[in-house]
């Protein structure tokens, strides 16, 4: 198993190199010159030349790439064109916000997605089943940013229940800590701040979750229907064990593999969806920051973000494969199956 994991980790290297080449090529070769954007339209050619020189943009493109990779390996992605802060710091300060909302969303989507999917499969063709089908259809059809807009209109403007933007009221913001406000406020024992952070998290979190929830519930339903039709379910029933146990212990346990795949894959696209959700809810994470950087041509940041997210995505795939081995005794990595 450990051998297998190491082998898979080594296989990630060419993928990430490829991703870095794609991004580098797009931003340094295809994209227009960032100098006039960064320095403003009235900048002189001389100042732009000086700026390019300072940022290493006059080097040969291959040299630029090699420098970029050399830095990236040590975690140095250069500096933002605007703040002169290191890119890693810029991203690091915003990263917990994105991870917090992504984990919240994946938990909501997984719990409710599996719950709805299981109930729909067990009560096939019932009202609940049909409602779940409509929900999953709407979930994949509604633009995530418009869903956020509708939520704001309903829960903020009309009902006034929840805040529309930000992570927490500024007076309550926890100092230091991990950057995960839900954890920091709890650790500091500030329950008012915790509640406030949670309230801020609900709307963007649920918005981000819905698409994934729809996909998970759909997959759970079909996977459960498949599992419940298997002979071993009949065997389980013939043993006289309760229906709940039949469905969960024998059915869901077998249906989990494709569900886990979906959850793993969805985590990646969830990080993509965060770009839109964060923009709608002014959530100070890397999603909204990336959009900002793209409009400002802050390329070092974009390169780093894409590379980091791609890394997370491929690692998630690896984790899914490892979970497989635990879920299904028939899978043995590294050993040849007879």
């Amino acid at each position: 198993m450990i051998k297998y994991i190491i082998k898979r980790l080594l296989m990630l290297i060419p993928v990430l190199i490829g991703v870095s080449i794609i991004v580098f090529f797009l931003l340094r070769v295809c994209a227009p010159d960032p100098a006039p954007v960064v320095l403003g339209q009235h900048a002189t050619e001389a100042s732009m030349q000086e700026w390019r020189e300072a940022n290493g943009l006059n080097e040969n493109i291959v040299v630029q790439y090699v420098n970029f990779i050399k830095g990236a390996v040590t975690g140095d992605f250069g500096e933002s064109y605007y703040t002169n802060n290191s890119v890693l710091n810029e991203i690091g300060s915003r990263f917990p916000a994105t991870i917090e909302i992504a984990i919240f969303a994946i938990i909501v989507a997984t719990v409710f997605g599996i719950l709805i999917g299981v109930v729909a499969a067990v009560k096939k063709n019932s009202i609940i089943d049909n409602a779940s089908m409509v929900l999953s259809l709407v979930g994949v059809s509604i633009p995530i940013f418009w869903l956020g807009i509708l939520f704001i209109i309903l829960f903020v403007k009309i009902l006034g229940w929840l805040p529309a933007s930000g992570r927490i009221d500024s007076m309550l913001r926890p100092e230091g800590g991990t950057g995960f406000y839900l954890i920091d406020t709890l650790v500091q024992g500030d329950f008012e701040a915790f509640k406030n952070a949670l309230w801020h998290l609900i709307l963007p979190g649920v918005t981000l979750a819905l698409y994934t929830l729809a996909i998970i519930s759909r997959m759970t339903r079909s996977s459960m229907l498949d599992a419940l039709n298997q002979d071993y379910i009949r065997t389980a029933r013939s043993k006289g064990i309760g229906e709940g146990k039949v469905v969960l212990k024998h059915g869901l346990r077998n249906a989990l593999m494709p569900i886990v795949t979906v959850i793993g894959l969805q985590f990646g696209s969830l990080l993509g969806g965060a770009v839109l959700t964060e923009t709608v809810f002014a959530w100070p994470g890397i999603g909204s920051y990336t959009v900002e950087c793209i409009t400002k041509s802050d390329f070092p940041v974009i390169q780093a973000v894409v590379l980091i997210i791609a890394t997370i995505f491929v690692l998630m795939n690896l984790i899914v494969d490892i979970i497989y081995a635990f879920l299904d005794p028939r899978i043995k990595y590294g050993k040849r199956e007879s």
Binding site: D231, Y232, T235, R253, P329
Partner: protein, 324 residues
């Protein structure tokens, strides 16, 4: 009778109509006896057994009759009450040993699940019982095999595990639905021998569902022959083989290949089983029968007693079925 099925009716509602999968079927089985229910696929033999187990699910439903077990009618039992009986007093093994075990659990745990459900044994004791059961069904080094997953075993071994599981709570009735169909011929004989041996040892009644008359000849005491949801003949195994009364039974017997006879061609019952949603008005077998009479196409013969055995055919009695 230990288990007595009386006028059982099980129906399936499908788009094109209602399928009377089991229509007015009665049979019983004594302690220590093996009753074979024989028929082609679609004859209602498996549905009968699933009805006894209370495992008929939507869109199927037991719509009439009684299933008496220890003086209690199983049809009237709630789901919870049935769960107590299922796997404990009455248990079942299935046709597909390859797929009937849950692939993600160790076989030991699957056997123990039955025991833990129906007894107060501790985990350690349940484990001992499970090992004993594996030993009983002839699995070598049972203690080690407890840790195996189903995919690590052969089909014959898996069917033995199924039997061990079914027997783990000392059932009074074992329903074996085509237990050997999916297995190699040599393994078939072993499994049948095992069932036969265990019924003597434990004294349980066995309901053997099969389409294979060879299996019947080897193991059964009495035989029920089903066709299109009804019993067409019922007799001791000796009578069925020496003197079959119903043309369908005769046809089934003739279509068994025999070594001692030198025939050019194997006999085949002509025609096909009718569409279960559109059964003919008269005898369901009329269209395929060599001895079909005018009357057979219009009326359904009744199942009548003929010298201690039963047959449903106008060749043997003019009595008509009342409840069509």
């Amino acid at each position: 009778m230990l288990l007595e099925v009386e006028n059982l009716k099980t129906e399936f509602k499908v788009k094109r109509g209602t399928v009377k999968a089991v229509n007015n079927v009665s049979f019983g089985v004594e302690k220590g006896e093996i009753l074979a229910i024989v028929g082609e696929s679609g004859s209602g033999k498996s549905v009968s057994s699933l009805s006894v187990m209370g495992l008929i699910r939507d869109p199927g439903k037991v719509t009439g009759g009684k299933i008496m077990f220890h003086g209690e009618n199983l049809v009237e039992k709630t789901k919870k009450e049935m769960n107590k009986i299922r796997g404990d007093k009455i248990s079942m093994i299935f046709q597909e040993p390859m797929t009937s075990l849950n692939p993600v659990y160790k076989i030991g745990d699957q056997i123990m699940e039955s025991i833990l459900t129906h007894t107060d044994l501790s985990k350690a004791d349940a484990r001992k019982t499970a090992i004993k059961m594996l030993d009983l069904v002839g699995i070598p080094s049972p203690e080690q095999r407890m840790e195996d997953y189903p995919h690590q075993m052969s089909g014959g071994m898996r069917q033995r595990v199924m039997i061990a599981m079914a027997l783990s709570c000392n059932p009074e009735v074992l329903i074996a639905d085509e237990p050997t169909t999916a297995l190699d011929v040599t393994i078939q004989a072993q499994i049948l021998e095992l069932i036969d041996k265990l019924r003597n040892k434990i004294g349980m009644a066995v309901l053997l569902i099969t389409h294979d008359l060879g299996v019947v000849a080897e193991t059964a005491d009495r035989v029920v022959v089903m066709y299109c949801g009804r019993i067409v003949e019922q007799a001791d195994v000796k009578d069925i083989f020496t003197d079959p009364l119903h043309p369908y039974t005769k046809g089934l017997l003739e279509s068994i290949p025999r070594m001692e006879e030198d025939r050019d061609r194997l006999f085949m019952i002509k025609g096909v089983v009718p569409d279960p949603t559109k059964l003919p008005k008269g005898c369901s077998f009329a269209d395929r029968c060599e001895n079909c009479m005018e009357k057979c196409k219009e009326h359904m013969p009744a199942l009548v007693d003929v010298g201690g055995r039963k047959v449903r055919c106008f060749l043997h009695s003019d009595e008509e079925e009342v409840d069509v």
